[in-house]
């Protein structure tokens, strides 16, 4: 091994560029892998901690005696037993287990039998099993199997990502200069065996790993930590976990096992790559290596686009590029992938956010998001007026919309003959326009004031032509409860939630209530027909169905009496002024004395959603940085080796009169070719991706649910251009620096001399 290690060490230190690039490649690939592993581990740890904070036991047994609990302590696999007695006399015993049992349920049954705890395992009321914690803590074989399965999936995913990374390490090793190949050929010609050559390269890889692997692990931990901090700063943790708990449980975790796994994977990877290179090198016969300075040119294209645009410089550049098709393909491929990923991630996240927002918006009719409130039910059908007045007074809301659902229907020939009817809505001014938009997809046919002044309502035909009447007979269905029942109902609604027992009260009271129908002639101020598509999501209403939309003043001025002595509470669509007033409003609404209930909180939902998307965005930004770095290193590597491999060739061009400027020009055209090809492919790939996604949305039926992606085909283009410009800048700088370095020796020297 003495010879091999001598050569490996010499190559590492004398071929600094190659060594450095290889180390950077190993570093980046391993960082990414470690970051992903660490992120995953942190996530599982956090989930475990949150679970433990809420349910700090593997098994909790209720109502054991102190003696029974005490006796459990000595049982197999028991870690800790915590006994708690409550004032009411009931007890709970929290048990934590040690790892390493075969099957948890068998063990548990055995425990019940052995300790005579007085119940069978099927007596569900007597115990709780925290299956998730059992699995997180790898208590039994099943848990370990689950864990292993998850890990395998993750590993496959990471390997998949690493596949693209493999290309980097491989290119660092494989597209290493022809000069290296020549040297290995020379070694062979003076008697180095193929095995020795392979060993030199492998040893070299191993030694570079000594630096690259620890750095990669550190880099991975570092960037995972950074990503963790910045994702946390988006407030995502507090969105899902109570803030106090989040502070305690959401912490960063590093797993030695996962670190070892990345290190070993990285190591094996590098060794495989090195071995592959070694095998490739020894396939070349020594004579070939010694006698052929540069690669053998087999075919050249006579005409090329670059040639047309850039003249002879372009022609040369283009031939150089095609001469090593593999190198060209790998560069363009990795650049294309990086550019496409880089530019599409954000577009996809953006559009997902917009689509999600649209979905929420459809239910609330507000861009900013509203809080959907409901006042407590009351024996006084107009009691809500105070509640709303008070809401207005808080100053937290810029608009408070309202609609009240009444039970009135048109009673005219040809309408509702099948007994089906539309609904009756009493709408206030703030909600008038959004109401039409959200429910019917229409602009209202007249202003709110005009409607109020008319003293009539608007008839909205849901299926069929607008009704051609100026006046219509309406039937009002009223329900009148006894005072006793009203009190009961008020109690039912006092805590907001209605459970099964309470619902029974509600139903029975409804059956006892006196039903009285009233008929009344009402003016029809306007008649419209809805846009068919707006109703798509409700299904098709029966022919002749008509909705009645009336101003709320009509309800308050008398209609309320026709519906009975209690009312459905109105829906209140409260739009908050800003974020600060949102939290104040939330507090206000939560207080029972304000007699208002929060039904649906679109503002909060938007905020949570934004937090999640910010998290996703930050996470993908980190991924993007990795992608960009990797692509850049790859590009620099390929460009510089490409030039160094042709060192003597470039020198001979200079010997026949090519100026330095022309040389620079030629290499810049070469960079341009890489970048432009990659950019074009990226645009195509992105467009295909977008078309694919839209097709996916259509095929899966998501589109019918109202999700329209609406991504412009050329949305990613500016980003691709930006990325390409950066890639071009980097590759140009890399090649100019390499060339300048070369120019330090005279061309004649370079004709023969070596790296």
């Amino acid at each position: 091994m003495k010879f091999e290690s001598l050569m490996a060490i010499r190559y590492i230190f004398k071929q600094k560029r190659h060594s450095l690039l290889t180390i950077i490649s190993i570093f980046l690939a391993l960082s990414l892998m470690t970051a992903l592993f660490t992120g995953y581990y942190t996530l599982t740890c956090v989930l475990r901690e949150v679970n433990y904070a809420n349910n700090p036991y593997h098994v909790r047994i209720y109502d054991l005696t102190k003696e029974q609990a005490e006796s459990i302590k000595s049982y197999d696999h028991i870690d800790t037993v915590e006994f708690k007695e409550f004032i009411a006399g009931n007890t709970q015993t929290d048990i934590m287990l040690k790892k390493g049992m075969k099957d948890f349920l068998t063990w548990f049954q055995q425990l019940l039998k052995d300790k005579e705890l007085g119940f069978e395992s099927v007596d569900y009321d007597r115990y709780d099993i925290n299956m998730s914690l059992k699995n997180y803590d790898l208590i039994d074989d099943e848990a370990r199997f689950n864990q292993l399965q998850l890990l395998c999936i993750l590993y496959v995913f990471i390997i998949f990502i690493a596949m693209s990374l493999r290309m980097i390490i491989d290119t660092a090793f494989e597209i290493s200069s022809k000069e290296r190949e020549r040297q290995f050929g020379m070694l062979e010609s003076i008697g180095a065996s193929p095995k020795q050559i392979v060993r030199i390269i492998t040893l070299e890889g191993l030694m570079l790993c000594i630096v690259g692997v620890p750095l990669g692990l550190l880099g991975g931990i570092g960037s995972a930590w950074l990503a963790f901090r910045s994702v946390l700063s988006s407030g995502i943790a507090e969105t899902f976990i109570a803030p106090a708990l989040a502070k305690r449980t959401v912490t960063f975790h590093i797993s030695p096992m996962y670190l070892a796994l990345s290190a070993v994977t990285g190591l094996v990877w590098v060794l495989l790559s090195a071995y592959g290179t070694g095998m490739r090198v020894i396939k070349i016969s020594p004579v070939q290596a010694i006698t052929s300075g540069g690669g053998v040119v087999k075919k050249v294209r006579r005409r090329s686009l670059a040639g047309l645009i850039f003249g002879w410089k372009g022609k040369l550049a283009s031939r150089n590029v095609r001469r090593q098709p593999k190198r060209f393909i790998i560069t363009v491929l990795s650049l294309t992938l990086s550019l496409s990923l880089y530019s599409s991630v954000e577009v996809v996240v953006d559009n997902a956010q917009i689509a999600t927002k649209k979905m929420i918006m459809m239910d609330t009719g507000s861009d900013e998001g509203v809080m959907l409130l409901s006042p407590n039910i009351s024996a006084d059908p107009l009691a809500y007026k105070d509640t709303v007045e008070n809401l207005k007074k808080t100053g937290y809301f810029k608009a408070i919309g309202m609609d009240i659902l009444g039970t009135a229907r048109l009673k005219e020939n040809g309408i509702n003959t099948d007994g089906r009817s539309g609904s009756t809505y009493y709408v206030n001014k703030d909600w008038y326009e959004p109401f039409f938009k959200v429910n019917y997809g229409l602009e209202p046919p007249m202003t709110y004031e005009e409607l109020e002044a008319s003293g009539g309502f608007i008839a909205v035909s849901l299926n069929g032509d607008p009704i051609d009447l100026k006046e219509a007979n309406c039937l009002y269905f009223g329900k009148y409860y006894s005072d006793d029942d009203l009190k009961k109902l008020e109690k039912v609604y006092s805590d907001g939630e209605v459970d099964e027992d309470e619902f029974k009260v509600f139903r029975e009271a409804g059956e006892r209530a006196e039903k009285r129908n009233t008929e009344k002639k009402v003016k029809i101020a306007a008649s419209v027909k809805i846009d068919d598509s707006a109703f798509g999501r409700y299904g098709v209403p029966a022919e002749g169905t008509v909705d009645i939309v009336a101003p709320i003043s009509m309800y308050e001025n008398g209609d309320y009496e026709l519906f009975g002595n209690y009312s459905y509470p109105p829906n209140i669509y409260a739009e908050v002024v800003d974020n600060a007033s949102y939290s104040a409003a939330l507090k206000y609404v939560e207080e029972p004395k304000h007699k208002v209930e929060l039904f649906f909180d679109a503002v909060g939902l938007y905020q949570d959603m934004d937090a999640v998307f910010t998290g996703i965005r930050l996470g993908s930004a980190f991924l993007n940085i990795f992608i960009a770095l990797i692509a850049m290193v790859n590009l620099v590597n390929i460009i510089t080796t490409g030039l160094i491999n042709r060192k003597s060739e470039l020198a001979s061009m200079q010997c026949v009169g090519m100026t330095e400027g022309q040389l620079y020009g030629m290499s810049i055209v070469e960079c341009l070719q890489f970048v432009i090809t990659a950019a074009v492919f990226s645009v195509i790939l992105c467009i295909l991706l977008i078309i694919g996604t839209e097709a996916f949305v259509h095929v899966t039926g998501l589109a019918e649910d109202g999700i329209k992606l609406g991504i412009g085909y050329f949305e990613p283009v500016p980003k691709i251009l930006l990325g390409s410009a950066a890639a071009f800048a980097v590759s140009t700088i890399a090649s100019l620096l390499t060339l300048r370095n070369m120019q330090k020796t005279e061309p004649v020297e370079r004709l023969r001399s070596v790296d």
Binding site: L187, G191, A192, S193, V287, S753, V754
Partner: protein
């Protein structure tokens, strides 16, 4: 007794239209201690012949025996060991390992073999090659003549059965050429070292014991100079 025996050696490059017969049924023998010059026009197959004798290229057909051993009957590993122990190659452009110092380049075949280089022999050789002062220099820090002396040192260090030199002076001026030739001549005389030297230079050829002329892959002339 013959050290090297070459029998019906053929080497063709390429296929079909592009086929080139670099060597066509070449046969000759070389006794131990002989210093043989191979001359001939450019492209006549001299280098090909040398590479095949040296075990770095495989013949299309024919055989090479060195010291009674059929060179190309060996597997790759043994062929490598054969190159490292039995052959010393010297090239026109030196082909030194650029990352190793002069001394390391010289001892390389020995180190490769897992043997400890003989210190005394090394010192003697360095002195003989006039490289004692330059032993720690990298090839890039040496002149052409010095580099060629290093490569001769490398070829001689393991005392191989045969030293093969492909235009060893082709890249050197006449003073340096004379020095290199003297080195080779002396080692041939002092150690009874068998040598095959390819050259363009008639003066150099005339310093050898025997001259073979190659043309178009055939041996067209084979004469003893009568020096010894």
């Amino acid at each position: 007794m013959e050290l090297l025996k070459i029998e019906d050696l053929c080497k063709t490059y390429g296929k079909g239209e592009n086929e080139v017969k670099a060597l066509d049924k070449v046969s000759f023998t070389v006794p131990k201690g002989q210093m043989l010059a191979v001359i001939g026009p450019s492209g006549s197959g001299k280098s090909t012949l040398l590479h095949i004798i040296g075990g770095v290229d495989r013949p299309t057909s024919g055989k090479v025996w060195l010291d009674g051993q059929d060179v190309y009957e060996q597997n790759n590993k043994n062929l490598a060991i054969f190159r490292r122990r039995q052959v010393g190659l010297i090239y026109q452009f030196y082909n030194l390992i650029p990352v190793l110092s002069a001394e390391e380049n010289i001892t390389l075949p020995m180190i490769m073999d897992g043997r400890k280089p003989d210190k005394e022999r090394l010192e003697k050789l360095l002195k003989l090659l006039d490289l004692t002062e330059r032993r720690d220099h990298l090839p890039s820090q040496l002149s052409g003549g010095q580099q060629q002396r290093v490569s001769i040192g490398r070829a001689m260090f393991t005392s191989p059965g045969v030293i093969l030199a492909d235009e060893p002076t082709g890249n050197l001026d006449s003073k340096n050429s004379a020095e290199i030739m003297e080195l080779l001549r002396n080692s041939n005389r002092d150690f009874n070292q068998t040598m095959i030297i390819i050259t363009h230079d008639e003066n150099i050829a005339l310093q050898c014991d025997r001259i073979i002329t190659v043309s178009d892959g055939h041996i067209v002339n084979d004469v003893l100079t009568g020096i010894n």
